[in-house]
């Protein structure tokens, strides 16, 4: 359990210390990448709670979603359609949906445990 947290801390440290500057016009891609990563993460948590977690699916989805979102936005810029909005919408939608599912599962588990304790 500690290794992923360590990885998180190291990633944060790299993000803090790395002196990388990206032009302002690419900030859309960055936010999209963050959104895709969060979506994948929440999706993974949900799958874990629903016992359908598959590491390959999670990891590949994690990176593939990021790349796909960025690629979509990139193409959108070149064909003059704000495709990144589609990605933001889809990821945001899925993010909330997954969050809702996680919440329901947690509530169900909690109430189940409570009932067990009571009975």
């Amino acid at each position: 359990m500690w290794l992923p947290i360590l990885g998180l801390i190291i990633g944060m440290a790299i993000g803090l210390l790395a002196d990388i500057h990206i032009p302002a016009e690419y900030s859309n891609y960055l936010s999209l990448a963050v959104l895709a990563a969060l979506d994948s993460l929440v999706g993974g948590i949900r799958a874990y709670l629903q016992n359908i977690y598959d590491e390959t699916v999670f990891v590949s989805g994690f990176f593939f979603n990021i790349l796909l979102a960025i690629g979509l936005a990139f193409i959108g810029v070149y064909i003059g359609v704000d495709l990144y909005l589609a990605a933001v919408f889809a990821f945001g939608f899925r993010l909330f949906q997954n969050m809702a599912i996680i919440r329901r599962i947690l509530i169900a588990k909690w109430s189940f445990r409570k009932k067990n304790k009571n009975s």
Partner: protein, 243 residues
């Protein structure tokens, strides 16, 4: 050890999950990096806003300086206009002064002519006075000679008529000239001249001639005194200066 931890903490669920910690760590690393980097990027993007503020201040400062410079420009332009007006006034002054100089130069020239300091050239007349033939019957020889007062009369008449320069036998007359009788000759400015006397005068030939030919004028008086008078108009006479 990992297996043990999994079993103890996550129990049943963990069995079905083959969580590779390393890959999970990688994912966590990427997420951490992305979030923090995005956060930092957003912060650094806010900097241009502050820079904008600075630019705004700089803009205002530059604008103020521009206004200042423009005001200074206007001031200088007004000064320039004022100076140009002064220059024009000075030029007018100089022009009028030049006019005065010119007038004075012309006057000087005229005065020099009167003083006989410059050679004079122009139209004029030549008057020759000569003793008449001696008539043995006459009792006084003086009746036949040209006297200094005859010459004086002619010279005065010529000057009165507006002659600019007069010379007797080539001797230029000036304001200080004198003509005196010196026995058989006439002394002009210390130089003796015998008859005939050739008086050259520069001026308007017509006027000078008319002045001499007035009825009862100098010509008639000379003729009465038995003097041979020859009046000749000339287109060009040159009278040398006297020093």
């Amino acid at each position: 050890m990992n297996q043990v931890m999994k079993h103890t903490r996550q129990g049943k669920v963990a069995k079905e999950v083959k969580a590779n910690r390393v890959i999970l760590s990688l994912v966590a690393l990427v997420i951490g990096f992305l979030i923090v980097f995005s956060y930092r990027h957003t912060i650094s993007e806010e900097e241009p806003a502050t820079r904008n503020d600075r630019e705004w201040a700089r803009n205002i400062e530059l604008h103020e300086r521009l206004v200042e410079i423009e005001e200074r420009n206007n001031e200088l332009q007004r000064e320039l206009i004022e100076k140009q007006r002064q220059i024009i006034a000075l030029e007018f002054e100089i022009a009028s002064e030049e006019e005065i100089f010119e007038e004075q130069a012309r006057e000087l020239e005229t005065l020099r002519k009167y003083l006989g300091k410059v050679p004079v050239r122009g139209e004029g007349i030549i008057v020759s006075l000569d003793d008449s033939e001696y008539d043995p019957g006459a009792d006084d020889i003086n009746q036949f000679l040209v006297h200094e007062h005859h010459v004086l009369g002619v010279v005065n008449e010529l000057f009165t008529a507006g002659a600019e320069a007069v010379a007797i036998n080539g001797k230029r007359l000036t304001a200080r000239s004198y003509i005196v009788c010196n026995g058989p000759v006439i002394n002009v400015d210390g130089e003796n001249f015998p008859a005939p006397f050739v008086i050259a005068a520069i001026g308007k030939a017509e006027v000078l001639e008319k002045a001499l030919l007035i009825q009862g004028g100098i010509r008639d008086q000379l003729v009465d005194d038995n003097i041979v008078v020859i009046i000749e108009k000339k287109n060009e006479i040159i009278i040398d200066p006297v020093f």
